[in-house]
Symmetry: C3
Subunit: 276 residues, 3 copies
């Protein structure tokens, strides 16, 4: 890991475990710099022989990832395109590449993970959330677009028809305890125990014979990952609707109320979408 | 909504939310009149531009829907046939049409929802149950027939192999708390909070841009709904076995004990099937 | 049931319910004798008209099944081959035949069910576990091989992507309460209530009309069972990797610490794999 990152903190791999910390103030919005870093990271991980497990977390205890930067959709999509061909110019396909890595990936969730931030966590192999403060949400439908980066695919499989329809069409905030009950995260753990739990699990998997881990993940991917065509279709639907008049009008009202700044609107985004 | 209903109470749509109350005393049995009303309702909803969300509940706090009227299988099937072609003459295909509506549907469950009543709730997009009194069950195998209106398909997907086999082959009653743990309902909520919770969720979804809700539901339907062929095959199996000598004999003993009347047999139908 | 069994205790069928008790001291390891008995049992059950439900449990309260006997992989595989053709020479295909039986099968779990023992329980139609003492695990990846007898297939479907990756790549022990939350077992029940609960459910299903139970199980199998090709592919992968140098080296260290003997290593196998 020689590359310098601007929005990620990437420590040298320790006993096969790589720590990656998202550090993109003020809200870990997904914009072009963060996407460029993630594209670089994926390229390095594909070539890296030493890293067996990656743990992904946030430097900001209140926001894992707020959501995409709505003022820079074209710019971050252009960065995402550098990881694949032109038809893969989407966060959905970038997250899909993450899921496909031979490296095992674990998301450690504190604070809010909404929209493409929830979808980034869903693209990881496992998700563990701090019971006291983690919040997940797919607010897209409340703006006027479907989730576009794999969330529809993953939540349909993990939560089943009724609960996936509730959380995606309802577009509300889901706390860690309900996220565990619904299967959005593997488990909700006490914040004070979360780091130790994830570190032990990561070191443990990194200590197992590499070929068994890799081939078993590959079989499980074949059984559980959405196909690339479905991910591309969802990305196209998002990209069409995110430019619609309905989304522009609703986003304008939310920007006037503080969207993409640290404050009550972003804190309670799930609730606030219901009273626009 | 100009149509007069006989077994449904349908209020005018309010801010995009339509309230539909099943009112078919004494037990909300599914018979020809109720099916005729449901066929009418589906036709109106397909043409209705104002209704975005439908909330379905029961006027009877003890019975959401007891089950089909076993004395009128031919009659209600003939009514169901009016919604589709002759090969779609089944409750299963009528419930399937309900799932396919662009309108979002929410079942609010109090009391017993057994057999085709459970399957009606499963055909809705989401299900919320009163923790204190909701009971779900698929008693069909205890009579001698498989569930015929989509329950096998939905429960296999929602509950997974082991739990679907348990509740369908076991044919027992499942209370709201276990139904939540198994994924049969989205959540069990305190009876006193159920109405407010569902009303807020319904209004919320109805306030979101219509195109996003509709297209997202369509994608989720593609991922999670059973195919029409599987539903038709289940309906055929039910229609074959429901006329068998085994079912006739067991139903005769249950009618002698009070089946289809308000009383202890219907109240405890799940238990009673185990000691026929 | 006229056959004499050496590692199973098989009582005469009582009101359609057959009790089968695994009794292969010291740890209910899966070796050639136990597999021979299971092949015999499956053959008898296919011909048996009286048995409607089979309940499978262990005579050893601490071990349902520890795992396969790693010193006798070739021998038990040769026995398993007697149940099918040469391409079906695997525990995975034997367990798959068990799932395909028209008889309904219920696993009653006390103590440890690891590796192919967990997969034997997963091949049964339903699983109920003693809350105080049941432990499930797929330790294979910690040895250096993927689970080979259907566990990958079943757990992917029952637990979903994130949790299946966690328990299979993590290779740790899962207690009854977490196994219930994850869907690995139908329910965790108090040890003192487990026998009564399972006996009532078994008698109940055995009392229902046979044709309805059989045809409904067949439809649910079609919806939820992995295909034979996937099971065969998993078995091949296991058979390739179980003979690798990595597995031999790790197994040798574990044998030196007490593997396959009654003692602390087997008791805490999940934990111990993490500090090899």
């Amino acid at each position: 890991m020689t590359q310098t990152y601007r929005r990620l903190r990437v420590a040298p791999s320790d006993e096969g475990v790589l720590s990656v910390v998202i550090d993109a103030p003020p809200l870990n919005l997904i914009g072009p710099e963060l996407v460029r870093d993630l594209v670089t990271l994926l390229g390095e991980l594909e070539a890296d022989q030493d890293t067996r497990v990656m743990v992904l977390e946030s430097a900001d205890p209140e926001y894992f990832v707020a959501h995409v930067d709505l003022t820079k959709v074209a710019e971050y999509t252009a960065e995402a395109a550098k990881a694949g061909g032109p038809e893969d110019a989407s966060l959905g396909m970038l997250w899909h590449q993450l899921s496909d890595l031979p490296v095992v990936t674990i998301a450690k969730l504190r604070g809010r993970a909404r929209g493409a931030g929830s979808e980034l966590a869903l693209a990881c192999d496992m998700r563990f959330a701090a019971r006291e403060n983690a919040v997940l949400g797919q607010p897209e439908v409340g703006f006027g677009a479907p989730p576009g980066a794999g969330g529809v695919q993953h939540l349909a499989r993990l939560l089943g028809r009724g609960r996936a329809l509730e959380v995606i069409l309802g577009a509300g905030d889901v706390d860690a305890e309900l996220a565990e009950r619904y299967g959005w995260v593997n488990r909700a753990l006490a914040d004070a125990e979360l780091d130790g739990f994830v570190a032990r699990l990561a070191r443990r998997i990194a200590s197992f014979p590499a070929e068994a881990v890799r081939s078993t993940k590959q079989v499980l991917n074949g059984l559980t990952l959405p196909g690339a065509d479905a991910v591309r279709a969802d990305a196209r639907r998002f990209q069409q609707l995110v430019g619609s008049e309905a989304v522009k009008a609703r986003a304008a009202r939310l920007f006037a109320q503080g969207l993409q700044t640290r404050g009550p609107l972003e804190h309670d985004l799930g609730d606030r979408l219901g009273s626009l």
